[in-house]
Amino acid sequence: MTLLDKTDSVPSPRGAGDDGTPLLEVRDLHVEFHTRDGVAKAVNGVNYTVDAGETLAVLGESGSGKSVTAQAIMGILDMPPGKISKGEILFRGQDMLKMSGEERRKMRGAKMAMIFQDALSSLNPVLSVGYQLGEMFRVHQGMSKKEAKAKAIELMDRVRIPAAAARVGDYPHQFSGGMRQRIMIAMALALEPDLIIADEPTTALDVTVQAQVMDLLAELQREFNMGLILITHDLGVVADVADKIAVMYAGRIVETAPVRELYKRPAHPYTKGLLESIPRLDQKGQELYAIKGLPPNLTRIPTGCAFNPRCAQAQDVCRTDVPPLLQVTERDGGELAGRGSACHFWKETIHG
């Protein structure tokens, strides 16, 4: 209540933040799950920042901790079995992990929202989409049913659902996959939050629709100047939309870079492996490269660099010392802005 009132009366400082504090900053986040087989360390010291209007793509395989980090930020992690053992999540400089459950609930939807992978199962089958869209306004802003419905139609128009006024009473199963994902996007954007987390928003869609949905998301993000965290395992999706990329492996960030830099010159053997395993037309007839082995079991993460059992360049030091995220530089020692690699041999990887 108080939280909402306060922040709404003062025009929220959009843009890069006048005082230099980023929109969202995750500091040394650790999340573990207590299971029967022991403690699964899903996130082991993740750091990243997102500014208003910026898109951060978090890339990684299944089980790399990218979704768990997002759930921790949103505050929808199942606890127990999950547990945030260490770290801070700062939203406009305020640590959200120290807030009460009610304070966090009021931030969800209004200040930060999430788009889920499967829009069909993420929409309640027994309520009309108009009702579900309108619910956002009724819960957070106490609007009447009628006003909320008008707002819902407006939102559906905005995400370009044809004949919005006629379809506002339709149920989720009456929409196609792409349309459903548009409705999810509309729900997330309803209250014009400052931060959107999109957890594999296009994975369940076919390729032609993927591009449309991504374009829509990017366009709306620009329009509202929101921070966007795009979680994906699809390198193709990332290239067009993201500003910077964080690659995750076994609960840690192994490489960060501006998007074009990463594609041009990866500085971590894992990223390099990922890029090389994209099928390319000019390699027709040759065997497709694949990173050997499997992602590690999170209850038994290898000592040293978690990637060492699968890495072709692994040396003894990789099996004993965990590499920190090191600043990546040019051959002549000039710093490359925003680039980091958690590899003992990043120089060899990037400069050959």
């Binding site: 949103m74 929808i76 609930r105 009021k106 931030m107 969800r108 939807g109 209004a110 929202a113 999430m114 889920f116 499967d118 199962s121 993420s122 929409l123 309640n124 089958p125 027994v126 309520l127 009309s128 619910e135 956002m136 819960v139 957070h140 009473g169 339709d170 149920y171 009456q174 999810m184 729900m187 997330a188 309803a190």
Partner: protein, 322 residues
């Protein structure tokens, strides 16, 4: 004069059958407009009104409900007035529709037709009362246990197990034996006390399935509170199996009440109940089987109607059977 009342009754029953909202287990609005998109409830309703099984059972149930609410519409004779000049060995006069001697007389000279009509009230009251109580109480417990899990779930599940272990009729006999002057409410209380476990279990299971659904997580991520999630997202998606079990349980409860009355543990002798009448009729079954036939037949018909309704509703609500 009696003929007029008969016509009135028929009309009443017919109009009541046309608006089955009183029994309609779905909360859907009647008569869905074709161009409007249908909700799950409305969809099930549209499916139901095309099923003969549902139509037959709905008409029967409406008829029984009207009979329970206004027995004087059907019979003007006092069901407790005995006249020994009406001999029980006389054959029922099946030709004299709706007259006191239609079904004949029992051993005390009371009109069987009148007793069958007035007996409906007890059966319907017990059936509906127990089902409402168990659905609200058991449903609430099951929902809370399923949604919050942890300690409360364990505690409630063990209590459910304990109650589940008590044989329904035997348990009700023990409980009712403790009361000397039993009313309908005592019977309802005793049966509800023992019968809430099935609904609690069904609800718990359905809620556990629903609470892990993506749309619940999504609703949480968009800022819905626990109360709203339970009311708007979990309950509507978990209620279908509960409605089905409740409908079928209604029939079971009516049988249980009759059994208890038969055993002399139901209502007192001043109350009219099919179970008690069946019990009385057994004494003269060889000379006058019709005394048994009419209350027993009505009981079977009532239970059949509710079980058929439960079946029809289950098929309408289960998307896999479409």
């Amino acid at each position: 004069m009696p003929e007029n009342t008969v016509k009135m009754k028929k009309n009443d029953a017919a109009t009541a059958a046309e608006e089955p909202t009183a029994v309609g287990p779905t909360v859907a609005e009647a008569g869905p407009a074709p161009e409007k998109p249908r909700s799950l409830g409305a969809d099930a309703w549209a499916d139901l009104i095309r099923r003969p099984l549902f139509l037959i059972s709905a008409v029967l149930i409406v008829f029984l409900l009207v009979m329970a609410a206004f027995p004087s519409l059907f019979s003007s004779t006092d069901p407790t007035a005995g006249d020994l000049s009406n001999h029980f060995l006389d054959k029922p006069k099946l030709g004299s529709l709706f007259q006191p001697d239609w079904f004949g007389y029992d051993a005390q000279g009371r009109s069987i037709y009148s007793r069958v009509v007035y007996g409906a009230r007890v059966s319907i009251m017990v059936g509906v009362g127990v089902t409402l109580l168990t659905t609200v109480f058991g449903g609430l417990l099951g929902m809370l246990a399923g949604y919050f899990g942890g300690f409360w779930d364990t505690a409630l599940s063990r209590i459910t197990d304990v109650f589940f272990g008590i044989p329904f009729i035997l348990g009700a006999m023990v409980v009712l034996n403790a009361f000397t002057d039993r009313t309908v409410w005592t019977v309802i209380g005793a049966l509800a006390f023992l019968g809430w476990t099935t609904i609690a279990r069904v609800m718990r299971g359905a809620v556990i399935t629903a609470k892990h659904a993506d749309y619940v997580v999504a609703a949480k991520a968009l800022g819905a509170g626990t109360g709203r999630i339970l009311r708007k997202h979990v309950l509507p998606n978990a209620i279908a199996p509960v409605i089905v079990v409740a409908t079928i349980q209604l029939g079971v409860v009516i049988v249980a009440e009759s059994t208890l009355s038969y055993l002399g543990l139901g209502l007192g002798t001043n109350d009219v109940s099919w179970g008690a009448d069946i019990s009385d009729a057994v004494k003269s079954i060889r000379n006058a089987p019709h005394i048994l036939f009419f209350p027993a037949g009505m009981l079977s018909l009532t239970v059949l109607a509710f079980i058929m309704l439960g079946d029809a509703v289950r098929e309408a609500l289960d998307p896999k059977l479409r």
